[in-house]
Amino acid sequence: MINRHWLDFEKPVVDLEKKIEELKAYPTDEPDAHKSELVKLEKKANTVLKDLYSKLTPWQVTKVARHPARPYTLDYVRHIFDDFVELHGDRCFKDDKALVGGLATINGESVVVIGQQKGRKAKEMGYRNWGMPNPEGYRKAVRLMELAERFGKPVLTFIDTPGAYPGVGAEERGQSEAIAASLMRMSTLKVPLIATVIGEGGSGGALAIGVADRVLMMQFSTYSVISPEGCAAILWKDGTKADMAAKALRINAEELKRMGVIDKIVKEPVGGAHRAPQVAFKNLKAELVATLKKLKTLSTEELLDARYEKFRNIGAFVEGK
């Protein structure tokens, strides 16, 4: 069984999958004794799963986006790219393990990849600081972007973070400045930039690597100005109202696409990327290759003007007198 971490709303599927496992393990002399029953159950499980995932609430999507078995940046990097050489450090203070990057090749072309990285097992989670970069992470990102610019390589970023780390050291070393500098640097970087939200797009810490020519989003990812829990704690004065906050904030891919904040939703397999990661890798790779091809037809000037206009035009207001 690939998926040992169940989400509460998946219970109907979990029950069916348990039945299937039991049946498979049931001792019998006849090899095909339960075959028809199994086929029926598997078909049913698939239907139930499909049904569940076709009408996820924003809070349920948040849980899928945070699923511990969901593919992380390095999973995508290893499966999408033919080659990857990780590069470390910000050349100022340290190597931030919550934000990784390096050189990679895709379809014979070399690119720079950058992304927040979460850890899966208990020990690795701490090592990756739960995917929350310190200023050094963003400074490493800028260093790698500038490397890409010098050598004319496109930059592909992968967004997956609860947010930039809220710590004393992070503040002392300029978390705000590091994020701001990255936003500003991306806006004028003279190479194509593609950002993909693969899991959690948590606030400024996510956007810091998101000022791109094209912003893609995996179907069951979220992208938000604040975490649903944080928003609930402030506005509802009750952190447990996260489900209401998730809905009110409109943080899922379809809403963001409608608002013009992202350009494309990349389909995930039924039940989320963690149930069939290879499908997710394949879908994203196809989209990245196609997007890169399109961006390469633009001149640097066209690219930068379009990038500026893209973010310049985001906002909702009326022009009174």
Partner: protein, 279 residues
Amino acid sequence: MEWIKKNLLAGNIQKNAKKFPLGLWIKCESCNGIIYKKEAEKKLDVCPKCQYHFRISAHTRINILIDPGTFQEHDAGVEPLDPIEFKDLKKYRDRMKASQKSTGLKDGIVSGDGLINGKRVMIAVFEFSFMGGSMGSVIGEKITRIVEAALNHRCPVIIFSSSGGARMQEGILSLMQMAKTSSVIARLKEAGLPYISVLTDPTMGGVTASFAMLGDIIMAEPKALIGFAGQRVIKETIREKLPEGFQRAEYLLDHGMIDMIVERKSMKETLSKLITMLT
């Protein structure tokens, strides 16, 4: 004085407000001193006992800084919408309307051009009392426009920030204002025009993590709270006591994050001098 103290201690005051209006007297939240209101006003809303700089309205700020009669407001009519029909315990529209009524502004920023000792500048000033100076689409747009105006007229930009961060009620659109404003600042830098960012109490979150920390020169008012994450969030994350003076202007200066701390009474002269030296 006794009756004033008694009245104040009786809790006849809102929590967390920095300056308590109580007739002729006010209480300074920073030193707990009780001071004569007129005296504080004469000192540009600075506590005469501890030099704490009270929060002041955007127009008061502009009056202190800009040569009399030279301020021309820009984009005063730009009004917020409710793009995601946001509602928590209150509707965003209601919060917005309440702030509009109490401040007389359409949103939490006043921008325009004017002279500082005869030199033309583009200036934008946050109004903290408008929904905590939170940055939504209108603030992002007005900052972008004032910087674009500076690009057109080739003059310096001064932005006074005072904000809790991005405005949650506009969802992702607020977050994107960070990218939008940082992008236009990049153009200002390419054009070689000075940008002075002044951080006033408090400047936090998405405002700090975008244009506010991108000034060619960054200054702060004394004791201003400046940071990315809020202190409550940091305390919950690290489960430790925060260092003395953490996230205050003096602390940031010591850690190399800002150029200088400037008292309100010398702000105009300092800005004027720096602009002259840079242009």
